[in-house]
């Protein structure tokens, strides 16, 4: 995980202060990758540019609520994903679902809709952020540990298991390791995350996935 850089922090400060040069700099820095992200899903370059334009407008609109501790690139990508989703839904390419729409991470700038499903477990937005941050730090810590040891195989293993959701057998075949090795990595990883989460005194029902193999 790349934390926000000093230059990103300074840039957003300058933008908040209304500096046009800083805004121009942000656009120049990020428009290429945002365009590449959006264009891969759209048939029209012109439409892709419109979505990127909406992304930048969305960023400025949300700036009062933007948390500087969140990496700028990640935040911009989440806004772009939201704008792209909106566009594709209008085009009829994405299904219209009855509940609160939008990719996760975009809700900080999107006002809550009136049709909000009743939550079986009510927790404030602030509480959820604390819980999520605890898990982020735990995962990040473990990945840094593996990286530091040059244990790239374990990172790949965990990423396939949890990000792609692949079963152990498929992971083992893809990485040319035994299923037992995959299971060991999974068990070890979850155990370390549980330890980190317990130290934060967070309840089990927040992250049930961590306890499935306990």
């Amino acid at each position: 995980m790349t934390p926000p850089s000093e230059s990103d922090l300074l840039l957003t400060q300058r933008i908040r202060a209304g500096e046009a040069d800083a805004w121009s700099e942000l656009i120049a820095r990020f428009e290429g990758r945002l365009l590449a992200f959006v264009e891969s899903r759209l048939r029209s370059r012109a439409v892709a540019e419109d979505v990127v334009q909406e992304t930048f407008i969305g960023f400025l609109t949300s700036l009062p609520n933007y948390d500087d501790s969140r990496p700028l690139e990640t935040y911009l990508f989440s806004i772009a994903a939201h704008k792209l989703t909106d566009h594709l839904r209008r085009e009829g390419r994405r299904p219209t679902l009855p509940l609160v729409p939008g990719p996760v991470g975009s809700s900080s700038f999107d006002p809550a809709g009136p049709a909000r499903a009743a939550s079986s477990i009510y927790r404030s937005s602030e509480r959820r952020q604390i819980e999520e941050q605890a898990l982020v730090e735990a995962i990040d810590g473990q990945l840094r540990h593996w990286r530091g040891r040059g244990d790239w195989r374990k990172i790949q293993c965990a990423e396939l298991l949890f990000v792609r959701g692949w079963p152990n057998k498929q992971v083992a075949a893809a990485l040319d390791i035994s299923e037992q090795a995959v299971a060991n990595t999974k068990f070890d990883f979850l155990a370390r995350l549980r330890t980190a989460i317990r130290s934060q005194l967070l309840p089990r029902d927040v992250f049930p996935e961590l306890y499935e193999v306990e």
Partner: protein
Amino acid sequence: MAAPIRQADLEAYLDEALPADQMARVERALRNDEELLAKLKAIYSRRDSGVHTLGEIWRRHRLSCPSRQRLGNYLLGALSDDEEDYVVFHLETIGCRYCRASLNDLEKQQAEAHADVEQRRRKYFQSSAGLLKK
């Protein structure tokens, strides 16, 4: 036989985080598969209740994404073998759309920079080639 569409795929679909071809595949499947659509709705509900999966959190925070500098070094061939293998894995096997977009942007910038260099070299040549001994 096509790979099954898993829970993690649907989560990534909701976040516009799958590679473009896989996004299209999920969209096509959702049009005809009520069960798949029901699973998608269930993920919405789960998110609304504040229950997170590791994968969602990992992807949302890009916890294993190489930095842009590292992607640039990858293009320059300046990474160790292990680091390069990981970048390729992250792009091709994990299919990180954000990193793919950054890489495409870096490649384009490099190509444009290369075009500038070529133009400059051509200018040097044209301004000096007449001095070559015949």
